[in-house]
Point group: C2
Chain length 220, copies 2
């Protein structure tokens, strides 16, 4: 019985790592969809999101069963509760990629990204990739030091987001209101994606150490 | 021992109801801050958000202790896990009110809401109030039928959100890019506030019945 128990606990961890892979792939394709007006990439992100939702539900089910049947305490219990939080964050990261993909699909065959913002959006996509890749690594290695780096990585995302808004607010910005709306929301979605990656890392720190990083859960 | 246990379980429910009250008050004041360019209201929302964060942390702590010490099963376990989810949603609703309050503060002494959008924003504020008030009532009465109404209430919020975007996209829209950005994000924050209220209600349904409403966790 204890063996199955530990297998189930390990499986939770594996499923979270898998979610991080899915979220990473979704975000990479969503950025491609936006920049290249790539309808196939957009559709792929939208249709593949169910997989992420399914794993989220599975994690919830397994976590519940583990708690009900095995009545874990201390670190195991912390691990299971933390897995629920992380799963919610990773599921949400998939949603944010879907939002971006839907923007790309709505504007197809045009690109939702005006030429002068291509560099910033490319950079935001890359920074999102850094964040979700690190979150995945943090999960697989249970690496607290690496986890604590994500705040700084997210600061870079926030800086890119500010630069994007500065560009839109520049008197030279001559694009349509529709374009302004799309860019405003896209910027927000990248920024939130970064926040959730940081959450995942912070949850890992709590899981391993029992201590929450400073200001955790205070970020808005 | 069991008495303390049930007191703690009841206390979790009470704290969630209290969070719904805080979130409702925050959103009502945030809407006032936006519409009336009321700096005091904005500051109040921003400074009072810590209270919501504190209760969220307290719920997490109590839930963990309950699971570790009492090893609840079946409905009690479901109640505790659900409380964690609801607490996260309600805490986030406070954050969204803070975002709106910060927009109002940034634009003070001007109002962030152009005259032609005052009616829609007033309606969105009222709809947010309906949603969070019902979520609170759902929590206090554990009323599954009422909980299932929230999807329809949220449809009204989504409709208001669409009308807002239609107004911004109208060729008559002559406001600054800054204003377009603020309104775009404000609309998004109201819409997300509604989504989280629906989540709270759906979690309550799951808590009471053990069944998730259709498409729960699939909303993006």
């Amino acid at each position: 019985m204890r063996d199955t128990y530990h297998e189930d606990l390990d499986a939770l961890g594996e499923r979270l790592i898998e979610m991080a892979r899915f979220a990473r792939h979704a975000m990479e394709r969503a950025t491609t969809a936006l920049l290249e007006a790539d309808l196939n990439a957009a559709q792929e992100v939208i249709s593949e999101d169910d997989a992420l939702n399914d794993i989220d539900e599975e994690i919830e089910r397994v976590a519940f069963d583990l708690m009900a049947r095995q009545q874990p305490v201390a670190q195991d219990l912390r691990m299971i509760i933390t897995a629920l939080h992380m799963s919610g964050d990773l599921e949400r990261m998939g949603d944010l990629a879907v939002h971006l993909a839907k923007t790309a699909r709505r504007r197809h065959p045009e690109s939702a990204i005006p030429p002068e913002l291509r560099t910033i959006v490319t950079d935001m996509g890359q920074q999102a990739d850094v964040l979700v890749a690190k979150a995945g690594e943090v999960l697989s290695k249970r690496d607290v030091d690496l986890a604590l780096q994500l705040e700084q990585d997210d600061d870079k995302m926030d800086e890119l987001h500010r630069r994007m808004l500065t560009r839109i607010l520049d008197p030279d910005w001559q694009h349509s209101v529709e374009s302004t709306i799309d860019i405003t929301l896209a910027g927000r979605f990248y920024e939130r994606f970064g926040d959730h990656a940081v959450h995942v890392a912070n949850h890992l720190v709590y899981m391993v150490t029992g201590e929450k990083p400073d200001d955790f859960d205070r970020e808005i």
